[in-house]
């Protein structure tokens, strides 16, 4: 039986190859898409997780702007003092108030637009972000409003392509005012993380920023490190209680745990994977229609052969099987080749984007199962048509 299949498929090599190609592309894209979706998810998740699941962020809500008044953050009550207040919560280990502003950093003839992050010495441990070289600023620096800063790895690389930035003096320029700062450290590389690009920032004492640069004691948000990972919910409750005494409207602030963000990322990823996989599945369906098309042509062409086989004693099911075998053979061959191709494409994309190569086993079963099913479904109709042919008519066919 298989020999008959191979014989008739090899009689039309180009035609068979094109049918196989249709399925191959479909299966390959299903595999590649699912793998890319999974890889990207894993990447984003691992970066979010690198901050630690026990990180809690307290941020002010946005006030809706109306009638020419721009939307603003509700920051009046978000002050450096509130940070001390929040750190009294028993389930909270550290609180880092963050003032975020923009400025230009200049060294000799180079300058760079960057984000200035006013933080406290606890910051590296709170967001899991250690110093690579030099040191982070100390409590002493904080108390003395020291004009020291630590560069994100990207900033260091761009501003000092072939020099050691440690100990160098740079100019910070914000709103027309210039300040002279000394570089005391360079952070490790953390990579892109959602909306926060840690590597493109500059870190300086929050007190220095408040007093010398912005002249304002309000902060943008607080990063909180929970005492232990299983106390996240407790910490949130305590923080919300403290905030409720200061801020009457609970809509005015948001307390979010890193865990929630991870869950959101996961959910988005599932949606993305299914979307990509779904689009790829359509390609597979089109491949199936290709098989059916070719098989229908083949049935007509081989009407006489079918007549001969029937005259020699082939039953309904013999003819049905013959054509169904061809269709399933083509689709399965396409499926296996598409699997290899899909893994190859996924590996290529993964290596370019430096994602991990993840091919879930369900994707393999899905792709192979789907290609087999496509072969069966789109093979049945042409095969049944062949099997139903009247032997007398079929023998007469020229």
């Amino acid at each position: 039986m298989l020999r008959t299949t191979i014989n008739s498929l090899s009689a039309h090599k180009l035609r068979t190859a094109l049918s196989v190609l249709g399925i191959l592309i479909g299966v390959a894209s299903v595999i590649a898409m699912i793998s890319v979706g999974q890889g990207a998810t894993y990447d984003i998740r691992s970066r979010v997780e690198s901050l630690g699941a026990d990180l809690v962020t307290v941020s002010p809500a946005f006030r809706v702007g109306r009638a020419g008044v721009a939307s603003t953050q509700i920051t009046e009550t978000f002050t450096l003092e509130l940070a001390d207040e929040l750190s009294k919560a028993p389930a909270v280990r550290d609180v880092v108030p963050v003032i975020q502003t923009n400025g230009t950093i200049k060294y000799r003839d180079r300058n760079l637009q960057t984000t200035l992050m006013g933080v406290t010495p606890a910051y590296p441990s709170v967001v899991n972000y250690p110093v690579a070289r030099g040191r982070f600023f100390s409590t002493q620096d904080l108390e003395s409003y020291a004009k020291v800063l630590v560069l994100g790895s990207e900033v260091a690389q761009q501003l000092f392509p072939d020099e050691d930035p440690l100990g160098k003096e740079v100019v910070l320029e914000r709103a027309g005012t210039r300040f002279l700062f000394t570089i005391i450290g360079v952070m490790t590389s953390k990579g892109q993380l959602g909306f926060g690009q840690y590597d493109n920032r500059v870190y300086l004492p929050v007190t220095t920023v408040a007093r010398r640069i912005t002249g304002d004691r309000t902060v943008n948000f607080y990063n909180l490190r929970v005492a232990s990972a299983d106390q996240v919910d407790e910490a949130i409750a305590q923080v919300e209680f403290i905030l409720s005494r200061r801020i009457s409207n609970p809509e005015d602030y948001r307390v979010r745990a890193q865990q929630d963000i991870i869950e959101t990322v996961n959910q988005n990823a599932i949606t993305m994977t299914f979307l990509l996989g779904g689009i790829a599945a359509i390609a597979l369906l089109v491949g199936g229609i290709g098989i059916m098309n070719i098989l229908l042509v083949s049935v007509v062409e081989r009407t006489r052969e079918i007549g001969i086989r029937k005259a020699l004693g082939a039953k309904h099911r013999d003819i049905l099987w013959q054509f169904l075998t061809e269709s399933v053979f083509v689709s399965t061959l396409g499926g296996v080749m598409g699997l290899l191709m899909g893994v190859g494409v996924a590996a290529l994309i993964a290596s370019f984007s430096r994602w991990p190569l993840i091919i879930p086993s369900y994707a393999i079963f899905l792709a192979l199962g789907f290609s087999l099913t496509v072969g069966l479904i789109f093979g049945v109709y042409p095969a049944a048509r062949a099997a139903r042919l009247d032997p007398v008519e079929a023998l007469r066919y020229e």
Binding site: T4, A11, I308, K310, A311, L312, G313, A314, P391
Partner: protein
């Protein structure tokens, strides 16, 4: 039980009635118009007979061939092969009967173009479910008997007309059928090759096989021992020759 009976051992089956047709009609419906291809045909074929069915085109001889070959069922009448009522047989039963009892030889040879000579001869045994070793051995034996022992692996396109028809005859004999049914077997051959093929049928008849030739050619029919003359869907004359 092997589906392949040994060759040339027809003892005990060489006598008696093989085919019985009684008042058989066949009506084709073509766009509201009824065509009466057979109009009350009755005859019987005995085992071991060499019968020719003769007539011009449109006489109904092709329809008779299709009915004898179990490719089609009559519209009405009675038709029995080897004790089996063909009017009541299902499509799959007819396929089984064709496989086991009928050996076809066609004017167009009708070999499977993508299979070699050996595979072509094997095909009826494949549908009968015979084991591979057994059917290959038998197919080789049959090809040797028709003089093609050195052409086993040639494809139809590599064979001459006469050789193709010999392959077709070997294939017809594969499942040791009760009847050899040949439709204008020399129609596409030159005179000399045609005579060789007819001599082969003669030889098979001498071995005890039942042979039915359908032809419009008097010279071909003259090989038979009985000639049925047909015209307008009826039997005109049933002639015994010696």
């Amino acid at each position: 039980m092997s589906p392949l009976r040994p060759l040339a051992s027809q003892d005990g089956e060489t006598m008696g009635e093989l085919f019985h047709l009684e008042d058989v009609t066949k009506v084709y419906k073509m766009d509201e118009v009824e065509v009466r291809a057979l109009d009350g045909v009755s005859f019987a074929i005995q085992r071991g007979e060499f019968l020719a069915i003769m007539g011009p085109s449109g006489s109904g001889k092709s329809t008779v061939m299709h009915l004898l070959g179990c490719l089609d069922r009559p519209t009405s009448g009675r038709m029995v092969l080897d004790g089996l009522d063909l009017l009541k047989a299902s499509d799959n039963q007819l396929a089984e009967i064709r496989n086991a009892k009928i050996g076809f030889v066609f004017q167009q040879f009708n070999l499977l173009p993508r299979e070699n000579a050996l595979r072509n001869v094997e095909t009826p045994a494949i549908y009968a479910g015979a084991r591979r070793a057994e059917r290959v051995r038998r197919a080789k034996e049959l090809l040797e008997r028709v003089g093609l022992g050195d052409r086993l692996f040639h494809f139809p396109s590599q064979l001459s007309g006469g050789e193709r028809q010999r392959v077709a005859i070997a294939r017809a004999l594969m499942n040791d059928p009760a009847i050899l049914l040949a439709d204008e077997p020399t129609g596409n051959l030159d005179t000399k090759t045609g005579e060789e093929i007819l001599a082969l049928f003669q030889h098979l008849h001498d071995e005890g096989r039942t042979v039915v030739l359908v032809t419009h050619d008097q010279r071909v029919a003259s090989y038979a021992s009985r000639i049925l003359h047909m015209q307008d869907g009826r039997i005109l004359r049933d002639e015994r020759v010696n």
